[in-house]
């Protein structure tokens, strides 16, 4: 016992705990059963005296404290002690607030949770931060308004920036625009782009190094240690940076696909981008004969909000057309302008700008469905519109038709490129049969990704960020828009979502903030969002690795590369500490200091499983700590009840559950196992992207395991719930308990 970690345990008697439980019996769990010397109980442990008591023990050498009181989500600051591992046992929300007081089953539940906590405190170690030299320079890819803003914002905060632009000049689309729609009150007049001033500021900034006419050949390494090779002309330059902001912008939707709107069939049908160029040159003229345009028709959503073309809305085209209509009226004062729209989208204060345009009686706006554009009378065009606000069918004749085309991201789908390459390799290796057919199909389906690489990341999971939808790169979308799947690489501006320049600037500043945070946290060996301050990193016991590649394939963040044999090559600063690699490994060689196969196994085995004749089933609940665990707390706070036979153990992510824990539980005699994660699918809520989804696929292995053991498949159930579904969670627990009751006891019990 002398060499064991020094553990002190505490039981709070407050908040109804001592009204429900036999505290003396609970103390025995620590003292008699576990042989721990220190077990103190206190009527108000989070009060000043209680905290002092714990602090004193810590100062006297306790290496770990087990605090059996409220949820770890309560009193977090009070129960945090320097240089000491703290394990919280949730007697309040998970025991006394949701189970019958002074009941044998409630007492057994409390004692089991105490045992689980002690087991974890025994095995877990406080992680030592992984420290390496970290480069804090920010790489910005793309020199348009988003990239320039990101560079300036990071530089103003004191960081070195390297900006790489593929063109020979900075500014991107901004250089082609005559003006921007109004950003400042009273939101009536288009405003100058101030592009030249911005370019000059970027090029003149002492902390910004600009590389123009450049293409990225390769980026290898990890946050804080990315090594970049850039090709400039015939030369290659190499340098090291810490984090990446991708601001590669957008391109207009290919208008040649819009021949039904006469694009390509008449020179007088142009796009909104071409209109910007025309608007910069005095009088606006018809391309066919150079005559001033006396009537101009704008067709909104040309190829947008259209399942055949771009299903999404590009968000700026309405306002761009409003702005261009004003330009036309300024340049050609006699011109009649028509704007034919599906809906005018001018959110927020831009409504003022829309109203200003509506004041102009020579700008005619109507909702309608444009059914076609055809040339008439030589140079003129006729637009047929149905379902308008005035008539069921109107015809608009115009000298010039402007197609308000949408934005397409300049982005590459790293995972698609990887899949394409893998399929090609399979074919080259002489694969046969169904696998060959599948590979050929993949090649056809993904061929358009050929040569689209931008970042050229040296990542096992592909050379660029993965796409989410419509080729826009991944992000968690609502709460954490910078939660990308490649740590330290942040997408911003129109390559992330169609946006106006103001939103691009905001987005650029946000991405710069995340890039800065990433290098700062990496320099401290800490994780980035969402496990901020987690200093543990996965440790791979490589001698036992069988090169099965499950971890390298399943890591949602592309943390692991592979060598030629398929051995994983960890990159700790890419790691988000979700534990999915730990869950994936059949050899169980991946572990964290405070979260490991052994720790969780010992927690699962710490529970006392009653003999069959006691008729007290035991169920294990492995639950996501982010959503299911707080939902379970809410059940307690609401004083709802559920079966006292289930023991819940939180996991970092359902994807971190290793199948061996299930075997451990079954051989220990648990009668059923409930696995609860977050929502998967297109609208996934898993913070680690695919934890629940992976559990779904591992579920097949689990079912195999059950078959081997000749156990009923109903003994294991996987559920997905959201944090607010505490009512449903309560139902799931009780239904599962009933179901297991019907199935009967685990035959391995007591063996």
């Amino acid at each position: 016992m002398g060499e064991e970690k020094r553990i002190a345990t505490y039981i709070c008697r407050g908040c109804d705990i001592d009204k429900s439980l036999d505290i003396e019996a609970l103390r025995n769990v620590a003292t008699n059963d576990s042989g721990i010397e220190i077990c103190r109980d206190h009527p108000w442990l989070c009060g000043p005296e209680g905290i002092e008591t714990i602090k004193k023990d810590v100062n006297e050498g306790a290496e770990a404290v087990v605090i059996a009181a409220c949820s770890p989500r309560a009193m977090t600051a009070a129960f945090t002690f320097d240089k000491c591992f703290t394990e919280r046992v949730n007697l309040r929300e998970h025991v006394v607030w949701c189970h019958e007081p002074n009941n044998e089953d409630t007492q057994m539940l409390a004692e089991d949770y105490f045992r689980i906590g002690i087991a974890r405190a025994r095995k877990a170690k406080r992680p030592e931060p992984h420290l390496e030299e970290v480069n804090k320079t920010i790489l910005v890819v793309g020199g348009g308004i988003t990239g320039m803003t990101a560079a300036l914002e990071a530089a103003r905060a004191g960081y070195q920036v390297t900006l790489v632009e593929k063109e020979e000049h900075l500014g991107g689309w901004l250089t082609k625009f005559t003006s921007l729609f109004p950003k400042r009150p009273p939101y009536r007049d288009p405003q100058p782009t101030q592009c030249q001033e911005m370019v000059a500021e970027v090029e003149g900034h002492e902390r910004i190094h600009v590389i123009k006419g450049a293409a990225i050949e390769k980026i290898s390494g990890q946050p804080g240690q990315f090594d970049v090779s850039v090709k400039v002309g015939s030369k290659t330059v190499t340098f090291r940076i810490g984090a990446i902001i991708q601001a590669t912008g957008w391109k207009p939707y290919d208008a040649t696909k819009l021949s039904h709107l006469c694009y390509g069939r008449s020179p007088n049908v142009i796009t909104n981008v071409q209109m910007e160029e025309l608007a910069g040159n005095g009088t606006i003229t018809r391309p066919s004969d150079g005559q001033p345009a006396k009537s101009v028709a704008f067709i909104q959503c040309a190829g947008s909000r259209d399942a055949e073309h771009l299903p999404y809305c590009s968000a700026v085209c309405c306002r761009t057309s409003l702005k261009q209509a004003i330009h036309i009226r300024e340049r050609n004062p006699d011109a009649q302008v028509y704007i034919l729209y599906k809906d005018i989208r001018s959110p927020g204060q831009y409504e003022d700008f829309y109203r200003r345009v509506q004041e102009n009686t020579d700008i005619f706006l109507t909702k309608g469905d444009v059914i076609g554009v055809e040339p008439i009378d030589g140079d003129r065009l006729r637009v047929d519109v149905e379902n308008t606000l005035i008539e069921p069918h109107i015809q608009v004749d115009a000298d010039l038709v402007v197609l308000a085309t949408g934005m397409v991201p300049v982005a590459a789908d790293g995972e698609a490129i990887r899949a394409l390459k893998s399929a090609r390799e399979l074919i080259a290796q002489g694969e046969e049969g169904a696998k060959l057919d599948a590979a050929k199909e993949t090649v056809v389906k993904l061929a358009h990704h050929e040569g689209t690489e931008i970042l050229n990341l040296d990542y096992r999971q592909g050379p660029d960020l993965p796409a989410l939808k419509y080729d826009f790169p991944d992000s968690h979308f609502i709460c954490f828009p910078y939660e990308t799947r490649r740590t330290g690489i942040y997408a911003a501006g129109c390559m992330r979502a169609p946006n106006d320049t103001d939103a691009c600037r905001e987005d650029a500043a946000g991405a710069a903030m995340k890039a800065i945070q990433c290098v700062e946290l990496s320099s401290q060996g800490a994780a980035v969002h969402p496990r901020w301050e987690d200093r543990s990193i996965p440790d791979f016991f490589m001698q036992r690795c069988t090169q099965c590649k499950r971890c390298t394939m399943e890591c949602p963040f592309g943390t692991l590369n592979e060598d030629a044999e398929g051995t994983p090559q960890p990159n700790p600063f890419r790691c988000r500490r979700c534990g999915i690699c730990l869950g994936s490994c059949p050899e169980r060689i991946v572990n964290f200091a405070d979260y490991s196969i052994e720790i969780l196994s010992s927690m699962i085995k710490a529970v006392e499983v009653p003999d069959e004749d006691e008729e007290k089933p035991r169920l294990l609940g492995l639950i996501c700590e982010n959503d299911a665990y707080p939902a379970l707390d809410t059940i307690g706070i609401k004083r709802l009840r559920y079966s006292p036979y289930i023991r819940f153990i939180p996991v970092r992510c359902l994807g971190s559950v290793n199948v061996v824990w299930i075997s451990d539980a079954l051989s220990r005699g648990y009668d059923g196992i409930l696995l609860i994660g977050c929502k998967s699918g297109d609208d996934y809520q898993c913070h680690f992207i695919r934890g629940s989804e992976l559990m779904g696929t591992r579920g097949e292995n689990i079912q195999e395991k059950l078959e081997q053991l000749v156990l009923e498949s109903e003994r294991i159930r996987v559920e997905e719930i959201s944090i607010s579904e505490y009512g449903r969670l309560q139902q799931i627990i009780d239904e599962f308990a009933e179901q297991i009751d019907e199935v009967g006891p685990n035959p391995f019990k007591g063996l």
Binding site: S346, K367, P481, A509
Partner: protein
């Protein structure tokens, strides 16, 4: 600490999703934060929302992660029931006066709830827009941060009652707590003061405040929430009956010279989202949405497109002119244009939801040379001093995701002023 890690201090005014985000993002880059929130809890309007569009996921999910980061971050000092009264100074060197209002419950509180059982006084529950009641001592909602009770000083009988004082084992109730002020020194100030729903009673002809079955979109969020006044069951406020028809009135007071001139940017999607709340509970209920333009920018168009698949959802182009109640049934008759259906419609429904807009919150802070607002009351991005910054809906009406991006970027701008 190596390199350029920031050590400055930032004052964040407003503890809604934007303010929380500014605080966490700046703190995780090394800054110290003073976060000041006037409510008794953090989370603002997001805490009152049932689901986010377009994922239909619960706001508490993201809030949980953000609050966990906040709780674990020793660099964030969080003051609830507090307001900033005055700021003097210049970028890099501001002095702010914070007024603390009494909570009457101190940090000893464990949220055990013994006080609630003995409290004899009830109050209207503001969190649920008055649709139910709490005791005078109450927990704003179950997953609240800070997890601490609060006493509504406006209704509490004070020392003449003192039942809660006796019931509390932790000496947490202080009925005689007085307001106090403190001063803090910071390098930059972020106004993340958020928004309020437009007062629908101002809108003539739409019947809010007159007819109990005319509600607003904000109230609908509470009605649909599992932790709301009806535990998530959407029923008619007048009689608790099930709903077989409902009308959403878009731009209720918005895009209207007489009320709110601006577009609030989110109400179209909010109504489309709320239509899913109804559909989930009532597969057969007829839903009408009367609109001027449906504004679903970017990929949110997918959400709009998916709702159009619902055959019992009619999306009608036309402005609502008038709503009247049938006194016998308390049903409502919605008089509206129907541009494509030919003229006018008169639609009888059980429930009307007014899609009211976002009004920037009043900001009563005295700052050097005053704050610059636009005609609508939103604070402009560029204020008189670069150390005074604005984030989220205080600046323009946007959805949560845009607030998160803006707040993250604003954290960086604040940090630049603290070097």
């Amino acid at each position: 600490m190596s390199g350029n890690g920031k050590q400055g201090k930032i004052l964040v005014i407003g503890g809604g999703i934007s303010g929380i985000t500014v605080a966490i993002e700046a703190a995780e880059a090394g800054c110290s934060i003073v976060l000041v929130e006037k409510n008794a809890y953090l989370g603002g309007r997001v805490a009152q929302s049932n689901k986010y569009f377009p994922k239909l996921c619960p706001p508490m999910c993201g809030l949980e992660i953000s609050l966990r980061r906040l709780r674990a971050n020793g660099r964030i000092q969080c003051h609830t029931l507090a307001e900033v009264e005055k700021i003097v100074g210049e970028p890099g060197n501001y002095r702010a006066t914070i007024k603390h209002y009494p909570r009457h419950v101190n940090e000893n509180c464990t949220a055990c709830g013994a006080c609630v059982d003995v409290c004899p006084v009830e109050r209207s529950n503001v969190f649920n827009y008055g649709l139910d009641k709490t005791k005078a001592i109450y927990l704003p909602f179950e997953a609240v941060y800070p997890q601490r009770f609060v006493i509504d000083g406006g209704v509490c009988e004070g020392t003449s009652c003192s039942k809660c004082v006796e019931a509390c084992q932790y000496n947490a109730v202080d009925l005689e707590e007085k307001p106090r002020t403190e001063e803090v020194e910071v390098g930059a100030v972020v106004f993340a003061t958020g928004w309020q729903p437009y007062d629908a009673a101002q809108i003539e002809n739409l019947g809010f405040g007159q007819y109990s079955n005319v509600i607003t979109n904000s109230i609908m969020e509470r009605l649909a929430a599992a932790n709301g006044p009806t535990e998530g069951r959407i029923t008619r406020p007048s009689d608790g009956k099930e709903i077989d028809s409902v009308a959403f009135v878009q731009c209720a007071g918005s895009r209207d010279e007489n009320y709110l001139k601006h577009c609030s940017g989110v109400c179209c999607l909010a109504s489309l989202k709320q239509a899913t709340y109804i559909r989930e509970q009532y597969p057969e209920t007829q839903i009408f949405i009367f609109y001027i333009d449906v504004r679903a920018p970017g990929r949110l168009e997918d959400f709009y497109a998916a709702r159009q698949e619902d055959e019992k959802l009619s999306i009608v182009k036309g402005k609502v002119a008038k709503i009247e109640e049938d006194p016998a049934t308390q049903d409502l008759v919605v008089e509206a244009e129907d541009v494509f259906g030919g003229g006018r419609v008169s639609q009888r429904v059980n429930l009307v939801v007014l899609a009211t807009g976002i009004v920037p919150s009043e900001v009563g802070v005295d700052v050097p040379n005053g704050l610059i607002r636009d005609e609508h009351g939103f604070l402009v991005a560029e204020q008189n001093q670069p150390g005074l910054l604005v984030a989220g809906c205080a600046k323009r009406p946007v959805d949560v995701s845009a607030c998160m991006r803006d707040a993250t970027g604003t954290a960086l701008k604040a940090l630049q002023n603290c070097v």
